[in-house]
Amino acid sequence: MFEVVNEDNKGIRLRGRFDATQVNKAARIFNALQNSATVYFDDLEYISSAGLSVLLKTQKRLKANGQQLILKNMSKHIREIFKYAGFDMIFKIE
Protein backbone atom coordinates (compact mmCIF):
# COMPACT_ATOMS: atom_id res chain seq x y z
CA MET A 1 0.00 0.00 0.00
CA PHE A 2 1.17 3.51 -0.81
CA GLU A 3 -0.46 6.87 -0.36
CA VAL A 4 0.72 10.32 -1.32
CA VAL A 5 -1.43 13.18 -0.12
CA ASN A 6 -0.99 16.88 -0.79
CA GLU A 7 -2.35 18.41 2.38
CA ASP A 8 -2.78 21.91 0.94
CA ASN A 9 -0.80 24.27 3.12
CA LYS A 10 0.64 21.52 5.30
CA GLY A 11 2.82 19.79 2.71
CA ILE A 12 2.96 16.34 1.13
CA ARG A 13 2.57 13.24 3.26
CA LEU A 14 3.91 9.85 2.12
CA ARG A 15 2.54 6.63 3.59
CA GLY A 16 3.42 2.97 3.13
CA ARG A 17 5.75 1.61 0.48
CA PHE A 18 7.06 3.78 -2.36
CA ASP A 19 8.26 1.17 -4.86
CA ALA A 20 8.39 1.03 -8.66
CA THR A 21 4.68 0.19 -8.93
CA GLN A 22 3.79 3.54 -7.33
CA VAL A 23 5.76 5.95 -9.50
CA ASN A 24 2.81 7.21 -11.56
CA LYS A 25 0.67 7.82 -8.49
CA ALA A 26 3.42 9.88 -6.85
CA ALA A 27 4.42 11.70 -10.04
CA ARG A 28 0.87 13.06 -10.46
CA ILE A 29 1.24 14.90 -7.15
CA PHE A 30 4.87 15.94 -7.40
CA ASN A 31 4.62 17.08 -11.04
CA ALA A 32 1.89 19.54 -10.04
CA LEU A 33 4.12 21.31 -7.50
CA GLN A 34 5.19 24.80 -8.49
CA ASN A 35 6.53 26.10 -5.18
CA SER A 36 8.64 24.87 -2.28
CA ALA A 37 6.98 22.13 -0.25
CA THR A 38 7.66 20.02 2.81
CA VAL A 39 7.44 16.26 2.34
CA TYR A 40 6.62 14.28 5.48
CA PHE A 41 8.16 10.80 5.69
CA ASP A 42 6.76 9.86 9.13
CA ASP A 43 4.61 7.04 7.77
CA LEU A 44 6.80 5.92 4.87
CA GLU A 45 8.11 2.39 5.45
CA TYR A 46 10.12 1.82 2.29
CA ILE A 47 11.50 3.61 -0.76
CA SER A 48 13.50 2.35 -3.74
CA SER A 49 15.40 4.11 -6.51
CA ALA A 50 12.09 4.51 -8.38
CA GLY A 51 10.78 6.69 -5.57
CA LEU A 52 14.07 8.53 -5.23
CA SER A 53 13.94 9.36 -8.94
CA VAL A 54 10.53 11.03 -8.58
CA LEU A 55 11.90 13.22 -5.80
CA LEU A 56 15.11 13.96 -7.74
CA LYS A 57 13.22 15.08 -10.86
CA THR A 58 10.99 17.30 -8.75
CA GLN A 59 13.91 18.84 -6.91
CA LYS A 60 15.70 19.61 -10.19
CA ARG A 61 12.61 21.28 -11.64
CA LEU A 62 11.88 23.31 -8.51
CA LYS A 63 15.49 24.39 -7.94
CA ALA A 64 15.60 25.80 -11.46
CA ASN A 65 12.98 28.29 -10.25
CA GLY A 66 14.54 28.95 -6.86
CA GLN A 67 12.17 26.56 -5.05
CA GLN A 68 12.87 23.24 -3.29
CA LEU A 69 11.56 20.19 -1.46
CA ILE A 70 12.24 19.92 2.27
CA LEU A 71 12.14 16.35 3.59
CA LYS A 72 11.11 15.65 7.18
CA ASN A 73 11.01 12.79 9.67
CA MET A 74 12.63 9.91 7.78
CA SER A 75 13.12 6.50 9.37
CA LYS A 76 16.67 5.25 9.97
CA HIS A 77 16.57 2.93 6.95
CA ILE A 78 15.27 5.53 4.52
CA ARG A 79 17.73 8.14 5.76
CA GLU A 80 20.52 5.62 5.14
CA ILE A 81 19.38 5.12 1.54
CA PHE A 82 19.34 8.89 0.99
CA LYS A 83 22.87 9.07 2.37
CA TYR A 84 24.15 6.21 0.18
CA ALA A 85 22.65 7.92 -2.86
CA GLY A 86 24.26 11.22 -1.86
CA PHE A 87 20.79 12.77 -1.71
CA ASP A 88 21.59 14.24 1.69
CA MET A 89 23.71 16.73 -0.27
CA ILE A 90 20.94 17.86 -2.60
CA PHE A 91 17.90 17.84 -0.32
CA LYS A 92 17.32 19.70 2.90
CA ILE A 93 16.55 16.86 5.34
CA GLU A 94 15.16 17.73 8.75
Binding site: A20, T21, Y46, L52, K60, Y84, A85, G86, I90
Partner: protein, 146 residues
Protein backbone atom coordinates in the same frame (compact mmCIF):
# COMPACT_ATOMS: atom_id res chain seq x y z
CA UNK B 1 12.27 -21.12 -1.14
CA UNK B 2 12.01 -20.65 -4.85
CA UNK B 3 9.43 -19.05 -7.11
CA UNK B 4 9.10 -17.84 -10.71
CA UNK B 5 7.64 -14.41 -11.46
CA UNK B 6 6.11 -12.91 -14.59
CA UNK B 7 8.19 -10.21 -16.24
CA UNK B 8 6.24 -7.13 -15.19
CA UNK B 9 6.76 -4.22 -12.83
CA UNK B 10 3.31 -5.03 -11.43
CA UNK B 11 4.63 -8.48 -10.42
CA UNK B 12 6.69 -6.69 -7.76
CA UNK B 13 3.73 -7.03 -5.41
CA UNK B 14 4.01 -10.83 -5.68
CA UNK B 15 7.78 -10.60 -5.25
CA UNK B 16 7.37 -8.60 -2.04
CA UNK B 17 4.79 -11.09 -0.73
CA UNK B 18 7.27 -13.90 -1.39
CA UNK B 19 10.03 -12.00 0.46
CA UNK B 20 7.68 -11.21 3.35
CA UNK B 21 6.86 -14.90 3.82
CA UNK B 22 10.59 -15.70 3.96
CA UNK B 23 11.34 -12.79 6.33
CA UNK B 24 8.59 -13.83 8.75
CA UNK B 25 9.51 -17.51 8.62
CA UNK B 26 13.13 -16.80 9.55
CA UNK B 27 12.47 -13.72 11.75
CA UNK B 28 14.97 -11.71 9.73
CA UNK B 29 15.75 -8.36 11.37
CA UNK B 30 14.53 -5.10 9.83
CA UNK B 31 18.00 -3.91 8.76
CA UNK B 32 18.51 -7.02 6.65
CA UNK B 33 14.93 -7.26 5.40
CA UNK B 34 14.94 -3.63 4.21
CA UNK B 35 18.21 -4.18 2.34
CA UNK B 36 17.06 -7.46 0.78
CA UNK B 37 13.73 -5.99 -0.38
CA UNK B 38 15.47 -3.00 -1.92
CA UNK B 39 18.15 -5.07 -3.66
CA UNK B 40 15.62 -7.55 -5.06
CA UNK B 41 13.37 -4.75 -6.35
CA UNK B 42 16.29 -3.03 -8.07
CA UNK B 43 17.53 -6.20 -9.77
CA UNK B 44 14.04 -7.41 -10.69
CA UNK B 45 12.98 -4.07 -12.23
CA UNK B 46 16.29 -3.91 -14.11
CA UNK B 47 15.66 -7.34 -15.66
CA UNK B 48 12.09 -6.35 -16.56
CA UNK B 49 13.16 -3.06 -18.18
CA UNK B 50 16.07 -4.38 -20.21
CA UNK B 51 14.54 -7.65 -21.40
CA UNK B 52 10.95 -6.48 -21.79
CA UNK B 53 10.11 -8.76 -24.76
CA UNK B 54 11.46 -11.91 -23.16
CA UNK B 55 8.59 -14.35 -22.46
CA UNK B 56 10.46 -16.27 -19.74
CA UNK B 57 9.70 -15.86 -16.09
CA UNK B 58 12.32 -14.61 -13.63
CA UNK B 59 13.43 -17.06 -10.95
CA UNK B 60 14.08 -15.96 -7.36
CA UNK B 61 15.45 -18.30 -4.73
CA UNK B 62 16.07 -17.38 -1.09
CA UNK B 63 18.41 -19.07 1.38
CA UNK B 64 18.63 -18.54 5.12
CA UNK B 65 21.97 -19.68 6.55
CA UNK B 66 23.48 -19.26 10.03
CA UNK B 67 25.19 -15.96 9.22
CA UNK B 68 23.64 -14.83 5.96
CA UNK B 69 20.60 -14.30 3.81
CA UNK B 70 21.34 -15.12 0.18
CA UNK B 71 19.18 -14.27 -2.82
CA UNK B 72 19.68 -15.89 -6.21
CA UNK B 73 17.94 -14.23 -9.15
CA UNK B 74 18.09 -16.01 -12.51
CA UNK B 75 16.98 -14.92 -15.94
CA UNK B 76 16.75 -17.03 -19.08
CA UNK B 77 17.51 -16.47 -22.77
CA UNK B 78 19.14 -13.08 -22.16
CA UNK B 79 22.21 -11.18 -23.36
CA UNK B 80 25.11 -10.80 -20.96
CA UNK B 81 24.90 -7.66 -18.83
CA UNK B 82 27.18 -7.73 -15.84
CA UNK B 83 25.45 -5.48 -13.33
CA UNK B 84 28.58 -5.29 -11.19
CA UNK B 85 30.33 -3.44 -14.03
CA UNK B 86 27.57 -0.92 -14.66
CA UNK B 87 27.33 1.07 -11.49
CA UNK B 88 28.11 4.74 -11.72
CA UNK B 89 29.21 6.74 -8.70
CA UNK B 90 26.43 8.99 -7.50
CA UNK B 91 27.43 10.20 -4.07
CA UNK B 92 28.92 13.68 -4.33
CA UNK B 93 27.54 14.58 -7.77
CA UNK B 94 25.81 17.97 -7.81
CA UNK B 95 22.07 18.14 -8.56
CA UNK B 96 22.47 19.32 -12.15
CA UNK B 97 24.58 16.27 -13.03
CA UNK B 98 22.25 13.74 -11.44
CA UNK B 99 20.38 11.34 -13.71
CA UNK B 100 17.96 8.69 -12.46
CA UNK B 101 19.42 5.79 -14.51
CA UNK B 102 21.87 3.51 -12.74
CA UNK B 103 20.99 4.63 -9.23
CA UNK B 104 19.27 1.33 -8.37
CA UNK B 105 22.24 -0.88 -9.24
CA UNK B 106 24.54 1.52 -7.40
CA UNK B 107 22.39 1.19 -4.26
CA UNK B 108 22.47 -2.63 -4.54
CA UNK B 109 26.27 -2.51 -4.36
CA UNK B 110 26.12 -0.21 -1.33
CA UNK B 111 23.56 -2.10 0.75
CA UNK B 112 24.51 -5.73 0.09
CA UNK B 113 27.66 -7.39 1.41
CA UNK B 114 28.30 -9.43 -1.75
CA UNK B 115 26.99 -9.07 -5.29
CA UNK B 116 27.98 -11.60 -7.95
CA UNK B 117 26.99 -11.95 -11.58
CA UNK B 118 27.48 -15.19 -13.52
CA UNK B 119 26.56 -15.61 -17.19
CA UNK B 120 26.39 -18.89 -19.08
CA UNK B 121 26.79 -18.05 -22.80
CA UNK B 122 25.82 -21.57 -23.89
CA UNK B 123 22.48 -21.50 -22.09
CA UNK B 124 22.13 -17.68 -22.35
CA UNK B 125 21.27 -17.59 -18.64
CA UNK B 126 22.37 -15.18 -15.96
CA UNK B 127 22.41 -15.62 -12.21
CA UNK B 128 22.78 -12.73 -9.81
CA UNK B 129 23.65 -13.65 -6.24
CA UNK B 130 23.11 -11.19 -3.41
CA UNK B 131 24.42 -11.85 0.08
CA UNK B 132 23.62 -9.94 3.26
CA UNK B 133 25.24 -10.81 6.57
CA UNK B 134 22.90 -11.06 9.53
CA UNK B 135 23.77 -8.60 12.25
CA UNK B 136 23.71 -8.79 16.03
CA UNK B 137 20.05 -7.76 16.06
CA UNK B 138 18.93 -10.89 14.21
CA UNK B 139 16.88 -13.04 16.58
CA UNK B 140 18.28 -16.41 15.54
CA UNK B 141 21.88 -15.21 15.36
CA UNK B 142 21.51 -13.85 18.88
CA UNK B 143 19.97 -17.09 20.14
CA UNK B 144 22.73 -19.11 18.52
CA UNK B 145 25.40 -17.14 20.38
CA UNK B 146 23.72 -17.62 23.78
Amino acid sequence: MVKYFRRSIQALTEVFNFLETFIRKHQVNTDVSFAVQLAVEEIFTNLVKYHSNNPNRIRIELFYEPETVTVSISDFDVEEFDITEHTATFAGLPLEKRKPGGLGLYLVQKIMDQVEYVYDPQKRECEITLVKYLGETDVRSRQRRQ
